[in-house]
Point group: C2
Chain length 427, copies 2
Amino acid sequence: MGITANNPDRKSWLEIAPESDFPIQNIPFGVFLTKENIVTVGTRLGDFAIDLGALQQLGYFEGIELTDDVFLQDTLNDFISDGKKTWRLVRNRIADIFDAENPALRDNKKHRDVVIFKMEDVEMQLPVFIGDYTDFYSSKEHATNVGKMFRDPENALLPNWLHIPVGYHGRSSTIVPSGIPVHRPMGQTMPADATTPVFGPSRLVDFELETAFITTDANIMGENIPVNEAEDHIFGMVLLNDWSARDIQKWEYVPLGPFLAKNFASSISPWIVTMDALEPFRCEQPKQEPAPLPYLQQEGNHAFDINLQVAIAPENTEETVVCNSNLKYMYWTMSQQLAHHTINGCRINSGDMMGSGTISGPTEDSFGSMLELTWGGKNPIPMKDGTERKFINDGDTVIIRGYCKNDTIRIGFGEVSTKLLPPITTK
Amino acid sequence: MGITANNPDRKSWLEIAPESDFPIQNIPFGVFLTKENIVTVGTRLGDFAIDLGALQQLGYFEGIELTDDVFLQDTLNDFISDGKKTWRLVRNRIADIFDAENPALRDNKKHRDVVIFKMEDVEMQLPVFIGDYTDFYSSKEHATNVGKMFRDPENALLPNWLHIPVGYHGRSSTIVPSGIPVHRPMGQTMPADATTPVFGPSRLVDFELETAFITTDANIMGENIPVNEAEDHIFGMVLLNDWSARDIQKWEYVPLGPFLAKNFASSISPWIVTMDALEPFRCEQPKQEPAPLPYLQQEGNHAFDINLQVAIAPENTEETVVCNSNLKYMYWTMSQQLAHHTINGCRINSGDMMGSGTISGPTEDSFGSMLELTWGGKNPIPMKDGTERKFINDGDTVIIRGYCKNDTIRIGFGEVSTKLLPPITTK
């Protein structure tokens, strides 16, 4: 079954700006709330939100085997459980419905009125219920940079790193969509010159530029997902800002890993861009030397060429771009991450989220965190308003954007934009 | 409002063996499946499972503000969300219903027939949907033992350990109730004499003797739960076997903590014993020196005197007890764990589970893992069948039991009993 939705020549009867992240070749999935307080699964075309629940009720998905009211829900989990074949059929059908040549919806004002919303009139929700959130650590440049700063500059990369897509478990309860502000965390830190720890607001709040993929339920407990089947169990991707408090992290993370330094908030972009939509942007991953163990070896191209950008907007002033990176730099691929995650029989559910780890590229302006960009605060970054930043200030908004582009199409993720607020007073 | 359910003099009209873990002073909560495939919230008295959904429908909870059909569900999450006052009212009422002097249900055979099941006729389920699972590391003896073996014997306890109830995130999707067998995990390890890692079944599968507490939804993102309020947000406790693969753990855990070494399975006992039921067994926690930061300081007694035992039953032979420990040895209390977990504003939901960490006591026979009991495999433990164990063999069943006892009552947790099966062949 072809991915007809990816046809680069297709135009929509909806007006879509040429530089939009959401042309008819994208067709992401999300969940939105209307002004009438109705929650529905939707897609986005240009600046329009499309109610897929209404489309289903009006019969536009006839012929596709779908659970009743699978889109009249407040999460995508059940739709994702329907599997890759169904995702593709639905996405192809949506492209047909909005194809410039198709009059069915185009010429039916009554239907259009209940199906199409302006983006400004809806409020985006978390697209999935995330049962488990795993974060990987798959950028060689990031792992090397952090190793140099936190551990031994001579042996920055730990012995296991080239053999294992290192990962750890994160907190699901504090994952929020773009637009929801987060509070600077309070916590315990050990100042450089102190002998006992102190309590107070974190002084080193940082972003982490990441992407994340969303899985379907793929195995039972005890079973693994082979690396060459792994991509079939990935529904799509979002942008992820994995907020980090570096001073809390430094004091707490040995020996069991980051905990309160990370679990106060993780922010994601609300539209899940499908792996089908990203297919034209598949590219070669970095060469892996030494060769990984056979369960991690794969043929073909499994990296994706996704341009990523981070900007900081101080309160009431214009933003400054602080980082330009790309997902293609990652050493470990998403299929290797998922194969590794399940090689011990770990069960994966629909809606689970797996973060890439901070995406740092080879150049200094492609580092995916303030920790690396300012090299631990040593080299502050000038803002357009004349101030400078070592880390993130209260009132700053951090914006991550991502898009793919080739000669014929551009598809994007939109953004994850999050304002950092001061701490809530401790009770 | 008193905890009248704890009255030690009360007897039930149901026949309950004197040494049962489930006298009328216990009244735990769980979820079970009947032979008619009906799932319901229940409690247990002796060897009887009580259908609380049926009791509610028959009007036995009249006068208590309860959500409609809050017990006719497949998890306890909604009931837990109702809060401590409701938990106490319901538990007190159940004690009344089964009080020897109360004829209402006792003398109504029609009602008894739909409310009371034999334990052998029901199948226990997970009692809650666990959104997030956190595991702490709060036994000083365990942290010291592991530090001696894995790191530096001279500085076994890391600098942060006496200041922070160290914790990390675990995997929710692989938490299973007692009785569900688990498979030995496959994985990557670095043998002592090797220069490249190898792939195969873990050779060092271990149990970890833990308890865990179940929370209610207690805060919004950004807010903390003060240490002196923390216990109000804990519904109750279960026994936890946090399965661990020591060889996988050793190779993967630096720098981000345990991942595949732990997330293949965690087993819990199916009945949640409430904090109200455990109230008579409150006791003094170990003295904390140095004093923790103020947000972790608390007045009064916050430890609980819970006897714990681990036994190994090789296939087809009788069990051997390998460990006797007690929760009261833990350095950090549950209220300190919950206060620390939320000091950064981390949101806690109804049904979240927080493990104590391995509970090792001061004597060698009270260590809570084979790693410590055999000191890394150096001192194998003889089994009653003539074999010996360094770690857990395929076919072995690991059984954790727990109970509290004073001069007048004994209440227990039942057990978490789990058979270790060989790995499923890797695809």
